[in-house]
C-alpha cells in the first residue's frame, strides 16, 4: 500500500503528468490511424529513452498503450476499419450503430466502457502482479525456461489465423536473435565485426513496424477513400447506460485473465465477450444491426486485457503483445533486469508505472469524450506526409542506437523483410517476441544446464515446468484434434482488406 502511494507520488509530479498527457494524446492519435499502432509508436520513441528518466518514459509508454486501445475503437466505429487488431470485433456492431445514426452513443459506450474496464483491471493488476512476482521469484531456471517456451508457443500458435505463418515468423525472429557473439562464439556474424554485438532490438522493431509498414503503404498508395460517418459529441441516454454497464463488467472479467496469461492478446477475450453479449442480450433482434452491448462488451474486454498483459510483463518479463514487447525493450535499455526480480529491485519504478495507469485512464476519459470529432480529422492527413514523418523518425531512431551507418543498412534490410511479411500475411508479433525472448531463453537454458552439469533431465525436474509442458502438450493436442476434425477450409477467413490491417 505504501508502495502504491509512493507510486502515485511519482506519477503525479507535474513532469510525469505532462509525459502521461503526451502519451495518451499520442496513443489515441496513433490508435485512430489504421496501420500505425502503439507498437510502432513505441518503437519510434525508443531513442527518447536515452534522454528522459526511466519513470517518465515508462509512464508515457503506458499512456500510449492505453491510448491506442481507445483510439482504435474510434476508427472501428466511424470507418468500419479496425485501427488495431483488438478492435476488430468492435467494428461489427459499432459501425452498424454509426450507420443507424447512433455513432455518438457507440463512441460514448466504448470510451466509458474502456475507462471502467481499465480502472477495474488496473486495480486487479495492483493485486495480482506482486503476488505472481513473489511466486515466480522462487522458480528456478528450468521452470522459467518452460514458461518462456510456453509464451513463445502460445503467442505463435494460439493467436493469428495461420499456425505455419506464425512459426515462420517466430523462427525468423529467433534467427535474428542468434546473431552476435554473446555466447562467446561468433554466430551468424559472417565474420563482420559490425555484427559481433548482435542486431539491436530497436533496429529490428523500428524496421518491421515502421519501415515495413511504410513500404507496404507506398506499394498501395492510391486507394479509394473510405466513407466516414460524421459524428458530434459522444453522449449516452439512460437507456444506453442501463444496457451498457453489465457488458462492461463482463467484458472486464473476460479481458483481464486472458491478458494476464502468458498467452495474452486481446483478440480472444473480445470475441468471447461479443459471443456472450449476443447470447445474453434482451435485444437479440438488434445484433448485427448495431446493438450497444456488442460495442460495450468487447471494448471493455480489450482494455482490461491490455492491463492484464502487464502481469506477465512485469512479473515474468514475458511480453505477449507487440506493445508490451517494446516496453520490455525500453526497460532493458535502462539496464533493468527484466524478469521476476524487477518488482523487488525497482519497486519505485514499477509502482509509478502501475499508478500512472490509473492516471492515464482518467486522462483518456477526459480527453476522449470531448475530442472524438477532432480525432476523426486525423484520418484526413495525406499518407505521403504521414509516412515521410515516420520514415524520418525511423531512420533517426535506428541511427541513434550506435551512431553507425551500418544500422541504417540493417534497418532497410529488415524493413524489406517486414514488407515481405505483410505481403504474404506473416504476422509480425512472433518475430519480435522471438528476437527478444530468444537470447533470454538461451540464457535460462545454459544456466539450468550449468547447475545440473549438463544433465538434460533437469529441464523437467521442477513441478511448475512439468505443468507448463503439460499445458503446451494439451494445447498442441487440442490444435491437432481441431485440425483433423475441421479441415482448414472451414475456418472463416477475414476479407483481404481486413487481413491487411489486422495481421501486423
Amino acid at each position: 500500500m505504501d508502495l502504491l502511494l509512493e507510486g502515485f507520488q511519482t506519477a503525479l509530479t507535474p513532469e510525469n503528468l505532462f509525459f502521461a498527457a503526451i502519451g495518451v494524446l499520442l496513443g489515441t492519435a496513433v490508435g485512430v490511424l489504421p496501420g500505425i499502432g502503439p507498437a510502432m509508436t513505441l518503437a519510434l520513441l525508443l531513442p527518447v529513452t536515452y534522454t528522459v528518466g526511466a519513470d517518465s518514459a515508462i509512464i508515457m509508454f503506458a499512456g500510449i498503450y492505453y491510448g491506442g486501445m481507445y483510439g482504435g475503437s474510434t476508427t472501428s466505429i466511424l470507418l468500419n476499419t479496425p485501427g488495431e487488431s483488438s478492435s476488430v470485433i468492435t467494428a461489427i456492431e459499432g459501425n452498424k450503430m454509426a450507420k443507424a445514426g447512433r455513432a455518438a452513443q457507440a463512441l460514448a459506450t466504448a470510451a466509458i466502457g474502456s475507462f471502467v474496464a481499465g480502472t477495474i483491471a488496473t486495480v486487479a493488476l495492483w493485486i495480482v502482479a506482486p503476488t505472481v512476482a513473489d511466486l515466480v521469484v522462487t522458480l528456478g531456471s528450468p521452470s522459467y525456461f518452460a514458461l518462456m517456451l510456453l509464451a513463445l508457443f502460445a503467442v505463435t500458435a494460439v493467436l493469428g489465423s495461420s499456425k505455419l505463418r506464425g512459426f515462420i515468423a517466430l523462427f525468423l525472429g529467433l534467427t535474428l536473435g542468434l546473431v552476435g557473439t554473446n555466447t562467446g562464439q561468433a554466430r551468424l556474424t559472417f565474420g563482420d565485426p559490425l555484427l559481433a554485438d548482435g542486431i539491436d532490438i530497436v533496429v529490428v522493431a523500428v524496421a518491421v513496424f515502421a519501415i515495413g509498414e511504410a513500404l507496404w503503404v507506398a506499394a498501395h498508395l492510391r486507394r479509394k477513400p473510405l466513407e466516414i460517418i460524421p459524428v458530434g459529441q459522444p453522449w449516452m441516454s439512460k437507456e444506453d447506460w442501463r444496457r451498457s454497464w453489465k457488458p462492461w463488467l463482463r467484458g472486464t472479467a473476460f479481458g483481464f485473465p486472458f491478458g494476464a496469461l502468458p498467452a495474452g492478446g486481446a483478440e480472444i477475450p473480445t470475441f468471447l465477450s461479443y459471443a456472450t453479449e449476443k447470447k445474453l442480450t434482451k435485444h437479440p433482434e438488434e445484433f448485427g444491426k448495431g446493438a450497444i452491448e456488442g460495442v460495450a462488451g468487447p471494448e471493455a474486454a480489450n482494455n482490461a486485457s491490455a492491463a492484464g498483459t502487464l502481469v506477465p510483463l512485469l512479473a515474468l518479463g514475458l511480453p505477449t503483445t507487440a506493445t508490451a514487447a517494446i516496453m520490455l525493450v525500453a526497460l532493458q535499455g535502462y539496464g533493468f533486469n527484466t524478469g521476476p526480480t524487477l518488482m523487488d529491485e525497482h519497486p519505485d519504478l514499477v509502482w509509478a508505472l502501475l499508478a500512472s495507469l490509473l492516471v492515464a485512464n482518467c486522462l483518456l476519459l477526459l480527453i476522449n469524450l470531448p475530442l472524438a470529432p477532432i480525432w476523426a480529422k486525423l484520418l484526413r492527413i495525406p499518407r505521403p506526409y504521414l509516412y515521410a514523418g515516420i520514415l524520418f523518425f525511423a531512420s533517426l531512431g535506428a541511427y541513434s542506437v550506435n551512431f553507425q551507418a551500418f544500422d541504417l543498412a540493417l534497418l532497410l534490410g529488415i524493413g524489406l523483410l517486414g514488407f515481405a511479411m505483410r505481403r504474404f500475411g506473416v504476422p509480425v508479433l512472433p518475430l519480435l517476441i522471438g528476437v527478444i525472448l530468444g537470447p533470454k531463453l538461451e540464457e535460462q537454458l545454459t544456466t539450468a544446464l550449468k547447475i545440473s552439469q549438463g544433465d538434460v533431465s533437469t529441464l523437467w525436474s521442477e513441478p511448475v515446468a512439468v505443468v507448463v509442458y503439460a499445458v503446451m502438450g494439451l494445447l498442441l493436442l487440442a490444435m491437432t484434434v481441431r485440425g483433423v476434425r475441421r479441415p482448414a477450409a472451414a475456418e472463416t477467413n477475414p476479407t483481404d482488406n481486413e487481413k491487411e490491417l489486422v495481421e501486423r
Binding site: L221, R222, P225, L226, L379, R383, P384
Partner: protein, 130 residues
C-alpha cells in the same frame, strides 16, 4: 459536345454543379460530372460517397439531362478534369472557386487555378452564394 463540371462534395462543388446543369439545359448538351481524388488519404471529404453519386445522377437525369459521371482515383485531379474535357470535346468547363488565405496559397496548389490555365476551352468559375 458537352459541358464538364469539376465536382467536389462540398458547397463549392454544389455551386459549380448547379451552374453547369443550368448551362447544359440551355445549350441542350451532355453534362459530364468529374469527381476525382488522389486516393492518398484514408478519408477524403471532397470525394463523394457512391450513394451520393447515384442520387446526384438520378436527380439530374430526372430533370431531363444527359449525365455522365467520372468518379475515379487519379494521379492528378486538375489533369483528370482537363483530360475529361478534351475527351468529351467540352465547350465549357465549370469549376467552383474559394477564398484562400495567404498561407494556404503558399502551401497548397489550387486545382481550380490549374484547370483555368491548362484547359483548352473556356472555363466558368463559380462561387457559392455567400
Amino acid at each position: 459536345m458537352s459541358i464538364v463540371v469539376a465536382y467536389s462534395a462540398d458547397r463549392y462543388g454544389e455551386a459549380a454543379l448547379t451552374h453547369a446543369a443550368e448551362q447544359a439545359r440551355k445549350e441542350r448538351t451532355r453534362l459530364v460530372v468529374v469527381n476525382a481524388t488522389l486516393g492518398n488519404k484514408l478519408v477524403d471529404d471532397r470525394f463523394a460517397h457512391d450513394a451520393d453519386i447515384t442520387a446526384l445522377q438520378e436527380r439530374l437525369a430526372a430533370e431531363g439531362l444527359e449525365v455522365v459521371v467520372r468518379h475515379d482515383l487519379v494521379d492528378d485531379v486538375a489533369d483528370a478534369v482537363v483530360a475529361a474535357a478534351d475527351e468529351e470535346r467540352a465547350t465549357l468547363i465549370v469549376v467552383g472557386i474559394r477564398h484562400r488565405s495567404p498561407v494556404g496559397k503558399l502551401l497548397l496548389g489550387s486545382v481550380a487555378q490549374r484547370i483555368i490555365l491548362e484547359a483548352h476551352c473556356p472555363v466558368l468559375a463559380v462561387k457559392p452564394a455567400a
